[in-house]
Structures are given as C-alpha cells and as structure tokens.
Amino acid sequence: MLEKMDIDQPNSESGSSRTEIKNALYARCASLPAETVFSQHDLLDLGVIPDKDIKLLLQCTQELTREGLLKLLTRDGRACWRVVKKEDAQKYKSLTAEESLVYSYVESAGREGIWNRMLRIRSGLHMTVVGEAVKSLERRNYIKQIKTAKFPNRKTYMLAGLQPSEVVTGGPFYTDGTLDDEFVHQMSRWTERYIVGRSWAKPSDNPHIHSNSKKTSKQPRTSKHQTESERLVSSLPSRNANYIDLLPFPPGFTGYPSVSEITRAINASNLSPVTMKEAEMKQLLDILVWDGRIEENLLNGGYKAVKKAAIAVMNGQRTNEGQINEGTEPGDGGASALTEAPCGRCPVIGFCEERGPVNARSCEYFTDWLMI
C-alpha cells in the first residue's frame, strides 16, 4: 500500500512547524467524540494539514502513533487511526512492549473482560510472559481481576477503571460473581405477594356473596344429595375456622399482572436499588412457577397465584408473621402418600426383605410411626 511505503520514508520538513501541525491535528481529533475512527480522508478533511499534503499528514500520524497518541488500525485493508487520551498514552509509554500488548488487549475487551487464556492466545506470547505482564499491570493498578458469574473459575481481567458489564456479573441476582440467594429470595417473596393480591377475590369484600353463601350452607343437606365428590370436598381442610376462602375471578379475566406490570411495580417499590429488567423479572417469575407458587394464565397472559400458596401468604400476613412456610428442609410442604409411610423415606429400604437384616417385623421406623 502506498501509505505504508510512505511511512517508512525519512522526513525532510522542518521540525517546528510539523510539531505544531501535529499537535493541532491531535487537538482537533481529540475534540471530536472519543472512539471516532479517522481514515486518511477524514484527517485531511479536518483542515489542519495545509494544502492537504499527504506526505505531511503521514509524517504527523507516524509520529503521533509512535508517541502513542494515535492508534493505528486497519479497516477494510486501509489504515485508519483512533485518538488515544494523553493519560492513556502516558501509561503505554511506561510499559514494556509485552505489557503494552497485554494492556491493549485488556483494554479492547472493555467491560466484558478477557479471559487469561484468550489473552495468551491472542497476544501469541508465552504463558509466563503474559503472567508477568498481567502481574505487573495489576500491581500498577492498571487492570484488575474480576469474577464472572458464568465461569467462576476463569481468571478474567479488565481495566481497573471499568465496572463489569451485566453479562459478566450475571445480572442483578449475582453479587461478586456469586449467586445472591437471599436477594433472589426476598425479591421473589415480594413478587409473590404482589401477585397474590391480584389473583383472587376475597369474599369478605363482597357482602352480597358472603351472606348468600352463608345462607345456603346453613341449609341441611339430605344424604341423598351428598355425592362422593362432596364427601371428598368436605374432608378437605377448607372447613377450618381460620381458613380464608378465596373466590376465583370470572373466566377470561384480564387483570392478572403481566411481566411488564410486575417489573414496573417492583422497580417503583424501592425494594432494592437494583433496577430489574423484564427479562430478569421473567427469570424470577419462572422460578415462582417452578416452585408451584404462581402459574401462568394461558389465554390472556399474566400470572396468578396458586390458591394454596396464596392462602399461605395471606395467613402469614394476617398473623403478622410475614414468614410463609417455605423452608428448605425436606418434609416442608407437599405431602405424598408414599413419603407419609415410613418406607417412603426409609434410608435402608434397599436392605428391606422378608427375611433380610431389615424387615417389616422388626422395623423400628414402623414402631415409631404406629406409636404416633
């Protein structure tokens, strides 16, 4: 290329005027927004170089590049330049060649950070050399090591002055690269309560309904009308005195909160300084769905609380405990016929045979279970 050949040519112009032009060129470029990439034409069009002298321009850029004030790049096979801040240029100056190479890669990685291994591969340097360079850069506080949520074991570096991006930190659910389960827990509890308040109608809000149902329930039912479904129904714990009955909203109800609605609400609640995005909120909602606490309304979108969970939350609120039953220990919530019996949770069930070391006759778990 023409430009490349020219760069190697010795210059013959007088030094002083060229230095001025050079400085003017730098100042002009620096005044434009950072990260602007200049092609040869762009630089000439700036009007700093007299007569649009290509040779002069080349000499200037060459010198600026050498001083580290311009960075030479190639785009589409043609040379172009980017302005480097004076402070950064200063840094480069104090670095060794390897260090500056490593530094430039770390810098180019921006807020994403760069993995140690990638650094080695890209720079083509030996592992120890990279290691030393990284160490010295860290010592000088030019770069820092960060933890990525996705790959917690990878050594990743970025410039000391930058904040890691969300891809690196893993979003609001991560603190210092580790999952903040307390945060997740608190946020999901708030969300659940928000949804619970919007999923079911309370009969007490509706005096008409209340009196009506009371009246009919008082009517004596003949055994003729009592089908097996009713027997089944009446055997459920719903007849407890402190049971809150919740009424479903009519079919086709569109008032169940949607993702964006919940996101706005949680951000407006000042619960946390972190602003949640819809995608993150969706993540949180998914978890609540998988926990069986809320469910997605199929047809009209939006989320509604599962009745059982809603009652648990409301009971918790009413007794001012604020604590809802959601322990992490096995056995909390969820009962199955299998695990009620001692065998369903027996640690030695594998040995249990009719004449084996463990058997139904001598089983202590059974004895305990039958004693209750």
Partner: protein, 703 residues
C-alpha cells in the same frame, strides 16, 4: 410385573384367602405358567390341596387357566392385576354406598367376596324360598356360595328382617349396576390371559372364504378377531338381549345422565362404533321383569379406575379453583363417565389437528348439565362463588376463539355497588361508557360486541392490561358496577365451565356450538392424567428433598421432558447456588428421580474433566421407580399389619367370637380391651395408608 408387585399380590392373597392358596399363588407368580403337575412339583402339596386352592383362586379370577385346543393339560397362570385389585375392594364398596345406597353396596360386597356369581345364585341367596328356574351353574358351586355368605356379616336372613327387599328390587339394582358399568358380565375369556384370548379368538373366528383377495380376507378376519375379543370383554349384543329380554331402553334419566353416543366423534375420527353401547352406554336398563338367571356377573374394576381418576381431578379442581367449581366439574365428569370404557381412552388419538383430537375426547353438552338437579339446587352457590371485577377486564375472545357465532348471554350486571375485589380501585371512563353502551344495545348485539370488542386490540398488544394500573382512579368515583359475568343462575354454570377451561391445567376444552350440535365441553383426560402423574412425582420429590428439588424437577420436566441441561444452565435457570444444587441433584439421581447423561469430549478416554454431564427427567422411568417403591411400601405395610395382629392374636380371636361380639365390655378384661383398641387404631392407620398408597398406584399406573 415387577418383583414387589408380585410380592404384594402374594401378601394380599395370603391375608384374604389364607396360607394354602397364597402358597399356590406364590408358586404361579414366581414361576410363571405351570401345568397342574408342575404346580405340584413346585408347591409340595398334595393334589387335593392344590386342586382346592386352584379352584378358590379361579373363582376369584386370581389365576388364569387355559386348555389349548382342549387337548393336553390345562395351564395355570397368576393374574397379578386382579390380585392387586383385592386392595381396592374397600373403595369399590364405599363408592357403591355413596351412589346406590346400602343395599347395592351389600350386594356388591357379596359379589366381591364370591369373585363372580350367577344371578340366579345371588337371587337364591337373598331369597332362599324362590325356586331356581335354571340349571345350576357349573362354575359357581352354590354350597360354596352359601358357606361364604354365612361368614359374611350381611346375612340374607337377618337382612330381610331389617328392610324388606323384593326380588324385583334386587334385579333392578343389578341391572342399574350393569347399566352404570359397575357390574359386568363374565365371559370365559376372563379366565384366560390376554395372549391366550387372542389365540383362542383366532382359533374360533372362521376365515371368510367368499372373499377372493387374500389381503382383504386377512384384513376382515383380523377385524373379526378384534370384534370377538371385544364381545368377550364387554358382552355381545346377543348376550345383552338374552340377559334382559323385556328390557325397555327408556330415556329414564339416572341422576340426569342419559345415553348419548358419541357417534359423531367416532365418525370424525374414522373409528368404527362397535358394540360398546350396551353396557358402557350408561343407559339405565329399566327392567320390568327379572334378569336372565344364568348370566354371571362380577365387579368391573375398569370403571372404578375411571371414577377414581374423576375424583382426583375433582380434588385438583377444588384445590386450585374452589369448591363450587369443583362441584360443577364433578357432575360433568360423572355425566361423561358412560362414554369411557377404560381409563386409557382407546378412542383417543393425539393428532396435530386439534379438531380430530377433540373429537376423540368424551364430551358433555351444557344443556345436559343444566338438567342435573343437584346443580340446579346449587345454582345460588355457584353464582356467588366468583369474584366480581370490572366488566372491561373480561375478555373471553381467546378462550372461545374458535366460535364463529358466540351466542353467549352476557349482560353486565347491575348488582349493588360492591366494595369490590382486589383489583377494585381501577375503574375508568372507558369501562363505564362501555357498560352503558352494553345496556342500551339489544342482548344479542351486546353479546357479539362483548366477546369480540377486546379481541382486535389484544391481537396487537400482548399486555393490554399494562396501562390499566396507571390510569388515575381518583378522577372518577368508583361507580362502575362490578360483574362476575353471571346474570341468570343458569349462566353461573357456564361461567364455571369456562373457568375450568381457563385454567393452566386445562380441565376442559370448550367445543363451540355449531349449526347441528350444541355447545359442549371436552375432557382432555389424556393430558389431565399426565398432570396428575407429574403432580404426584413432584410432591414425592418435594417431600423427600425439599422445595428446591421440586423446582429442579419441574425445570427438567418442562419443555416436554426432552430437555437435557448441564449444571451451569440449571444454575442460571433455577438461581440455586451451585454447591447446594449439586447435592440436591445427586441425591435425586440416587433415588431415581432424575437421570444423568455423560457425553465424553475426549472419545474413549472418558476423563471426568473432559466429560459433559447433562441432567434430564424421564417421566416413565421415574414413574416405574416410584411405582415399585409404592408396591414395596404397601407390601411392608400389609406384612406389618399381620405382625401387629399376631401380637394381639388371642385377644382379637376372643373378640371375634360370636358370643363376644357386641358384649366386649362385659366379657373382655381391661387389659384386653386396651390392647384391642390400640391394635384397632394401628390397623386403621395401616390400612388407611394402604388405601392412600393405592390411590398413588392408580395415578402412577392406571390413569
């Protein structure tokens, strides 16, 4: 059948029929098909003993037998399915009591005790004075029967003293039960295993020589064989006619249910409507005379499975929606009952075309439900069981998107201004104006407008309700009347049905009204059974490993169970710290709840560091594992019950003496009474648990 299922069967047979038959049953269950001499060899009993046990077992249909071509020795085989069902007899009797009253449940408990019984013999047991009009059945020895019924608390003689039953009553009860499918006719084929039945049917059915094309001949023959098998299983038309020659097939409704054959559905699905209507049709056989004495009846456990599933579905609806809605659902499912012969719907076709799939499902029309007395009685309850909301917040457009002509009666209600539901504060000019417009227009146009008005705007915007909360409620006083969409009481029913189809579980699928057909509701049994299964597995997982495990298994079970996820992805989705999650995953894997796939990246070396680990959930494998464990648990419970009984054997035996029964207080010592009560409590606990486990087995295996 698995090891523990077999063990359980043996234990059950032992508990009910004693040691000798259970030993013989054990030999058959563990050795497979045996001839009589083989059985002798395996049991070391005398031929008389074995013959006796075999006859008891055959009587109870616990053993299949088959004589190939009537030559050679008869072969015996344990019927593990029926022997398991011994554990379910209690449920059967309870169900009968609920539906048909005490007399029917007594009757059926006798039938259960006898295994199968000739109608004539049954009649004679109850009415010994009546002359037998037919020859004695060879299969049912009458002395055997009277001996058994003597042991049974329901004694025919004592019974007639309490309430006087007539022969007509007995026969009409039997025919009612036959009509409801809770009793069914016994055919020879019940005593043969499925494979033998096919062999026999192929042997019996002649090939039609008149058809030239060999291929065609083969096809017709195969259909005939199938038809034969069905006739055997469900009774042929001819059988039904001889059974009750002067039956009038009236439309007398039985609790509002009457026969309606899903002929259209079958046509649509391209299926042949076979002779399924006689018994499964659910029509009450209104009998003016007696049933044919020579027919033999037994209980139909297939029907019980259907009813058990319905009960579980109703319980699910109750849990997730509310009592009122579940009552409606219970009635609907009951109305749909006659349309099913088996739990696993043989007509069901999973098809890409929802129309065809829908057509294979049992359907019930709205009008039919409206005719049910019980629901009419409950209507006030039904209409008050829905929360009230602003009418603008209801959009049924998507729910009924298929309906071209929505003929819904849907006026906004002018009930007293309710203080309102949770959403209460949001009311706007818009909804108010809509309301006014609704009132002024005629019913019909209101309807159309109402169901469609929101639809176009919804199409563009997925969350039309977004803006709602940001309207300023303060500017307009809360005057808009809230509605729950119920205007007339009969509307309430429909609202509940719609609500059932608006659930994530999809309890129902609305089938819109067409020109020729009424509006109907299809029950997607197939999907619902799967939901029940998954719920059962998840709740076992949660109670074993905690709620976080439930979260993990739901993640793995989502997306049609085909997802395999590595740990990182799981952390990202579940937001559970990796260490905690790893422990959970490993213990779940060890217990067989989830599976692990290893994919080595380094070919054959399989270094752990170079291997990808993917977790996945295989519902079928998990189901089988849980089923095994349930069988094992049941076996141990039954065994333990025996152990407990042995402990207080002498007392129990004393208490069961005929001279002691009823006078326990006088004749038993204090210690004995205490021991007895304690034992009774334990017994109750154990058998209650067995009953609950049986429900789990039904979910895991039968539905």
């Amino acid at each position: 059948m698995s090891e523990y299922a077999t063990q359980l069967s043996v234990v059950l047979v032992n508990g009910i029929f004693g040691e000798l038959p259970s030993q013989v049953f054990h030999a058959l269950a563990f050795n497979g098909r045996l001839s009589f001499s083989g059985l002798l060899h395996h049991t070391h009993f005398s031929p008389v003993e074995v013959r006796h046990s075999i006859s008891v077992l055959i009587q109870q249909q616990l053993v299949y037998w088959y004589e190939p071509d009537n030559i050679g020795p008869a072969l015996y085989e344990a019927n593990l399915e029926n022997s398991y069902l011994l554990a379910r007899s209690g449920k059967y009797i309870q169900l009968l009591k609920d539906r048909f009253g005490d007399f029917a449940s007594e009757l059926v408990s006798n039938v259960i005790i006898l295994g199968h019984v000739r109608i004539g013999d049954l009649t004679r047991t109850y009415f010994p004075s009546i002359d037998e009009r037919g020859p004695l059945s060879e299969i049912v020895a009458s002395d055997h029967l009277s001996q058994l019924s003597d042991e049974h608390p329901v004694k025919p003689n004592g019974d007639t003293e309490k309430h006087v039953h007539t022969v007509d009553e007995l026969h009409s009860t039997i025919s009612n039960l036959l009509g409801a499918g809770l009793l069914c006719l016994v055919h020879e084929s019940y005593f043969r295993s499925a494979a033998d039945n096919i062999a026999e049917a192929e042997h019996v059915v002649p090939r039609d020589g008149s058809i030239k094309s060999k291929k065609q001949q083969e096809a017709t023959w195969e259909l005939d064989v199938q038809q034969k098998l069905e006739d055997w299983r469900y009774g042929s038309k001819a059988d039904m006619n001889t059974l009750a020659p002067n039956l009038q097939r009236t439309k007398r409704t039985f609790d509002g249910e009457h026969d309606e054959l899903p002929t259209k559905k079958r046509k649509l699905a391209g299926l042949r409507a076979k002779g399924s209507d006689q018994i499964a049709g659910g029509q009450e056989i209104a009998s003016s005379g007696w049933l044919d004495q020579d027919f033999i009846v037994r209980v139909n456990h297939e029907k019980l499975k259907i009813i058990m599933r319905n009960q579980q579905l109703v319980a699910l609806a109750e849990e997730s929606i509310g009592t009122a809605t579940s009552t409606v659902y219970a009635e609907l499912l009951r109305t749909a009952e006659p349309q099913l012969r088996k739990c696993k719907n043989e007509l069901y076709i999973a098809d890409d075309d929802p129309e065809i799939e829908l057509a294979t499902l049992p359907q019930v029309s709205t009008d039919k439900l409206k005719a049910i007395k019980k629901l009419l009685h409950d209507l006030p309850d039904l209409s008050s069981a829905l929360g009230k909301v602003d009418p603008s917040e209801i959009d049924l457009g998507r729910l009924l998107h298929k309906s071209k002509k929505p003929k819904k009666r849907r006026k906004s209600v002018q009930s007293d201004a309710d203080e309102a539901s949770v959403e209460g504060s949001a009311s706007s000019d818009e909804s108010e104006s809509e309301n006014i417009a609704n009132e002024s227009e005629s019913d019909r146009s209101t309807n159309d407008r109402y169901s469609n008005s929101n639809s176009p705007s919804r199409g563009d915007n997925d969350h039309p309700s977004e803006g709602r909360n940001y309207k300023t409620p303060d500017t307009t006083p809360d005057t808009t009347p809230k509605t729950n969409g119920v205007t007339s009481p009969s509307d309430a029913l429909r609202q509940h049905l719609l609500l059932l189809s608006d659930q994530p579980q999809r309890f129902l699928i609305p089938v819109p009204r067409t020109k020729t057909d009424l509006e109907k509701w299809a029950v997607p049994y197939h999907d619902l059974s799967r939901t029940l299964l998954q719920n059962a597995i998840v709740s076992i997982t949660i109670s074993r490993f905690g709620p976080l495990a439930g979260r993990l298994i739901r993640i793995l079970a989502a997306n049609d169970n085909s997802t395999k996820l590595d740990e990182k992805m799981l952390v990202l989705l579940s937001l559970i710290p990796q260490k905690q999650m790893r422990t959970l995953l490993h213990s779940m894997h060890r217990a067989g709840h989830i599976e692990l796939q290893e994919i080595p990246k380094d070919g054959s070396q399989r270094r752990p560091g170079m291997t990808l680990f993917y977790w996945f959930f295989d519902p079928d494998r998990c189901r089988k594992k849980m089923l095994e464990e349930t069988y094992k648990t049941m076996t141990r419970l039954v065994q333990r019950a025996r152990v407990e009984r042995e402990g207080v054997r002498s007392t129990v035996e004393k208490a069961e003496r005929t001279d002691v029964v009823g006078r326990e207080e006088e004749l038993l010592g204090e210690g004995e009474l205490m021991a007895l009560n304690e034992w009774k409590e334990k017994e109750e606990r154990i058998w209650g648990e067995v009953g609950r486990l049986d429900e789990l087995v039904a979910v895991l295996r039968d539905f």
